[in-house]
Amino acid sequence: MKIVQDMPPVLSALDRPNSYIGRSVPRPNLARLMQGRGQYVSDVVLPRMAHVAFARSPHAHARIRAIETGRAKSAPGVIAVVTGAELARVMTPWVGVLTHLKGIKSAPQHALAVDRACWRGEAVCAVVARSRAEAEDAIELVEVDYEELAPVTDAETALDPGTPVIHPDLGDNLTFERRHEAGAPDTAFAEADEVVEATFRFGRHTGVTNEPRAVVADWNPGEQRLTVYHGTQAPHMMQNLFAKHLALEEHQVRVITKDVGGSFGIKVHTYADEMATVALSKLLKRPVKFVADRIESFVTDIHARDHRVQARVAVKRDGTITAFEIDDLTGIGPYSVYPRTSGIEANQVVNLTGGPYTCPNYRALARVVFQNKNVMCQYRAVGHPIATAVTEGLVDLAAMRIGMDPVEIRRRNLIADDAYPTSGPSGIRFEQLSHHASLDKVLAMMDYRALRAEQARLREKGVHRGIGLASFIEVTNPSAAFYGVGGARISSQDGVTIRLDAQGAIICHTGVTEQGQGAEAVIAQVAASAFGVPIARVRVVTGDTDNTPYGGGTWASRAAGIGGEAAWQAGKALRANVLAVAGSILQAAPESLDIRNGTVIDRETGRERIGLDEVARVAYFRPDTLPPGFQAELMATRHYVPRAWPFAFTNGIQASLLEVDVETGFITLLKHWCVEDCGTVINPQLVDEQVRGGVVQGLGAVLFEHCLYDERGQLLNGNMADYLVPMACEMPDIAVGHVVSPTADSELGAKGAGEAGTAGAPACVMNAVNDALAPLGAATITEMPITPSVVLRALGRV
């Protein structure tokens, strides 16, 4: 049965008695979610709570001449109708720039559009009513007089002199540009045996979280406090932003995040309609709830990707890759998203392209431009799928050109496993990766030779199978280098506080957040192991800025690696504190004691000395019996942030086996493999499921998901029937393997794993499709999603 097979034993260096590190412990929060007893923001109801709906611009670009709200105000159940100009008196606008992205610029963005709407779907007027239905009824009565303006929709022409400038004050439509050069690319291209060029196109897509964005804001004038129930990945970041733009102090704002119905990077940004909801609560002095409906999600949840990359690779006939060059263009909508900016994805494409390989010569240009479409920003595996598809696509094209097997060209160019520490051509630094071990492992798992033989046999019968590979690197455990150095108040450090309760159980409070990935389980496992209690005696509290250490939350695959290390250190610290109390009670040296399975023992003999419940009883209720001057401290806090490396890079490789129906262009995914190296594996099952879930989001990107816009900036498929996401029936089984190279930056040694799947899946499927079609003389496919019509076009059939 698969349930057993999916829990491979992964050895750990963290050799504590009764360690949970490396064990597939079930998550503590699953039972209530399965019983319908979760507490999502959509479920939150407060006394006096009102609901908001928004009138949204039907035009991609339009001046707002006037807004007539009289009829809406007198509609049944309506409490208030508020325009952008009115709300701007309560909430200040924001600008999504960071100082370390040199030259990035954007325009002030308001919670509700003032004077001008810049994309179809931008909120221009709010109606607050007793129910969402009544608010929506009244929205129909809001009359907005628009003057349509010329929309800028094509990124390719956004910088042309004849194209209107969306924000005239900025001078042009260029958000951000980065140029990078390493080694001597011109020489390398001139001296290459072959140069292969291609233009890669990545469709715009979005996260489609099953629970849409949701927020309940509750301004209490009596307390002068704002409580925000928010489906977010970063409660402390949002606390700062709500306070800043409402002219409050941070201690006046409490952000509570309970269950979140999917995030994937969608819920880590500032959304104008959520900011408007918070401002409306302040204005109306009562709780206001906003839950995006599905069309609102499609036109306002951040979009991602939408890159056009012209790229080339230089290769020697012996397979040595000598240069990469890319020219990346991406359109990010009318505003750089606050506070992380919309320059990060292109920046990551520059950082990551060519990353798995030894090739020293590299030239990159990335340009980010404004356009009148929904905003784009960081979504799971930011930049990775693009850089990986470009790199791995070029590597396969180079192999094909020189007649070399895709495995062989990778063997010859992947950075050697004993070459670390080293750095990539963009300057990124690698502590310890395992490309070759990962390649060997995936080839063994898939039985590469047998698959090639089967492929050849089936080809003779007119069955066209493809096998694709994609090596990748992944940014995890970010330090302040990601956002903090650029001036964003986004914490890269995180903390865990552990308290011994009066019966000997422990309560862990942490700044990392649970989005379903299993952060609570990981914190519990690590704390239980470090301190010495059964995991059933650990409770984890997340998602409350009043009750957790200051921290960054969940993004960039940081929760396990950074939050986990803080839990490890806090667990050790509390153990020392408890043993000091126990030593005092037992008249024993604390160093001679340890805690195992909830009991204080003699470290040498393992003999049980005193239960934690008894230690707690004495410390809390009979401290008078402890020696004079001795103070028990049964709560410990530790923080952690990576310092030795700006990022803990991980690596891995994915492989895809698929079949292409050359008559219909349909692609059937038969099997998928991923080997990844996230360092110490705290919970093998959770890592595997992060990989699988991530892979399927990558499979959605490469085959189905696409936000289709027309030339006037109208989204054509903003519903779940027309915007395709992966369904159970079309997804393959996904085999996951591990290589373990712990980071030495932390005692735990764990790196992140949340984005590996999404990073590599599109590239290996693209390579597999081309592998299937190449013998038929098809044109190489370098665009995503690879729909049936793309396949048929490549085959010259349409």
Binding site: I3, M34, G36, N210, G516, G693
Partner: protein
């Protein structure tokens, strides 16, 4: 606009319910907003994602495609009721053991849909399980773990 109101009598998770509802109110809105049964979720409101899956007179339906007014006289079961009766306890245990949910938002609907397949008996193969669950979208797991969990319960149940 004056709302059209309809009186309905039904049972929800075995309890009798008499309510006056707006004619336009969907079943899932009624369950969530009027009865506080928030285990049924709203994902797309147009019958695609399956987050609002409930049972009406024993049949799995989309709570967003049915009006509360249509449920007069019906027997409605939600994840809360099906959990309390223990009907799917083995399936829930398998989901937990296999980590077949992450954010959990699709899970109530997924469980009810899987139970519909399992109730037919036998051990469906993996592609049959995938086909049956195709109308319930999960964005977190990639489905593999869900298929494993359902398959394992089918095997266990078939051994009786």
């Amino acid at each position: 606009m004056s709302p059209h109101l309809v009186d309905i009598r039904l049972t929800v998770n075995g309890e009798p319910v008499n309510e006056r509802v707006e004619a336009r109110k969907t079943l899932v809105d009624f369950l969530r907003d009027d009865l506080g049964l928030t285990g049924s979720h709203i994902g797309c409101e147009h019958g695609v994602c399956g987050a609002c899956t409930v049972r009406v007179d024993g049949v799995v339906v989309r709570g967003c495609l049915m009006l509360a007014a249509q449920c007069d006289g019906a027997r409605v079961e939600t994840i809360e009721g099906v959990s309390d009766t223990g009907e799917i306890a083995d399936l829930q245990e398998a989901f937990e053991k296999r980590n077949a949910l992450q954010c959990g938002y699709c899970t109530p609907g997924m469980l009810l849909t899987a139970q519909e397949l399992l109730a037919r008996g036998g051990v469906p193969d993996r592609s049959a399980i995938r086909e049956h669950l195709a109308g319930n979208y999960c964005r977190c797991t990639g489905y593999h773990a869900i298929v494993d969990a359902v398959e394992s319960v089918a095997e266990t149940r078939s051994k009786g």
